[in-house]
């Protein structure tokens, strides 16, 4: 079973605007950018309860965060903006898995850009798929050619000795 891992980079996702000042409790809020991944099998079935390991760009050996996907195969995390670069996310279940790379922008460049600009910058990242990237038609033609190769081989050797 092959996995299709689609990523939706959600920027400015979490914002808690809770007015809560009572008994000396203060709540502050800030906006952070999170990454949501959604993992599914090739059949379109979501990879529910799959294990997710998140690695920072600096330390690809030790997971920075661990978790599991929900029933819809989704998992979101908030990368540490002080470590820009290629974050790696491994989704794995029952021997099926995929390692995908998520670029996290440098906070310095992020600050210089305006808010809608950041969103536009994130657009190319919104669909990262590790699959071959062939359209269904291209894949159909490739599969057809391979099958024709096998049939051709069979016909070639079936013509018998002359």
């Amino acid at each position: 079973m092959r996995l299709n891992l689609t990523l939706a980079l959600t920027l400015g996702l979490a914002g808690w605007a809770l007015p809560a000042i009572a008994h000396g409790v203060t709540v502050e809020h800030r906006q952070v950018s999170s990454v949501e991944i959604s993992a599914q099998f090739e059949t379109g079935e979501p990879m529910a309860n799959a294990q997710v390991l998140v690695y920072t760009p600096d330390n690809p050996a030790e997971p920075w965060q661990q978790g599991t996907t929900d029933d819809q195969g989704r998992f979101s995390f908030t990368p540490d903006a002080s470590q820009p670069g290629s974050w790696e996310v491994m989704v794995r279940q029952a021997g099926h898995g995929v390692l995908t790379t998520i670029p996290v922008a440098d906070p310095a460049s992020e600050n210089s850009a305006s808010s809608p600009g950041t969103e536009a910058d994130a657009e190319p990242n919104s669909l990262i798929s590790p699959s071959t990237g062939l359209s269904p038609v291209q894949q159909g033609i490739t599969i057809g050619s391979v099958i024709w190769g096998f049939i051709g081989t069979a016909l070639f050797f079936a013509r018998g000795k002359r």
Partner: protein, 214 residues
């Protein structure tokens, strides 16, 4: 049941390639000893195409969904041609459909190909072990055993490979439970493939019995 890239450590992948190399050499040598080594290539080539396509056919077995493998069938019908056929089929599956991977090609070929050779020997033993059975039943029973056990042994190897290679940072308990669930889904699949093998073999026995002599 294909193991994709990046799941197994490099040593296991290398060992898989070594075993596959040996098994390919052995199979090709057995083929070369036949009076006409090319005579069965048409049959082998067509079944390679069937094997290539079979992995895209999904059968929902709650809670998982499994896909056909047909390695036991290839073993029963092709004999020693089954190993190179599976190797070639897996190569194209990894390249075109994205099932399995190039680094794990050796492991996958050994995992599916060697049980296929066992299935062949199970089927061939029908004339020695299964003497007390009458003829159509004998072929039917042994082709079922070959088709079902070929897949079953592969599923067991898959289970073992995954369970003994769970990376330390994963939650081993959850991963083990998930692999077990998937493997249990292969029991009905083994029965389906066994019946499929029986149907094909009994059909061939009626229309072209010389194809089963191999």
């Amino acid at each position: 049941m294909h193991i994709p890239d990046g799941i197994l450590p490099a040593q296991v992948c290398a060992a898989g390639y070594a075993i596959t190399g040996l098994a390919t050499w052995y199979s090709l040598r057995q083929i070369n000893r036949k009076p006409d080594p090319t005579a069965e290539i048409p049959k082998a080539s067509l079944l390679t195409a069937a094997f290539f396509v079979a992995s895209s056919i999904y059968i929902p077995v709650p809670p998982a969904s499994v896909h056909l493998i047909l390695n036991g069938l290839l073993g029963v019908v092709l004999g020693y041609f089954a190993f190179p056929a599976i190797l070639i089929g897996l190569f194209f599956q990894a390249l075109v459909i994205g099932h399995g991977g190039i680094t794990t090609l050796g492991v996958n070929a050994a995992m599916m190909g060697i049980p296929a050779l066992l299935a062949y020997h199970i089927f061939q033993s029908r004339n020695t072990v299964g003497k007390m059975l009458k003829e159509p039943t004998r072929t039917g029973v042994f082709s079922f055993l070959g088709g079902a056990l070929g897949l079953g042994i592969s599923a067991l190897i898959f289970l073992g490979l995954i369970i003994f290679n769970i990376p330390a940072e994963l939650d081993a308990g959850a991963e083990r439970a998930a692999v077990l669930t998937l493997s249990i889904g292969h029991i009905p699949l083994a029965i389906i493939e066994g019946m499929f093998t029986t149907m094909l073999v009994l059909f061939l026995r009626r229309v072209k019995p010389e194809l089963l002599e191999g």
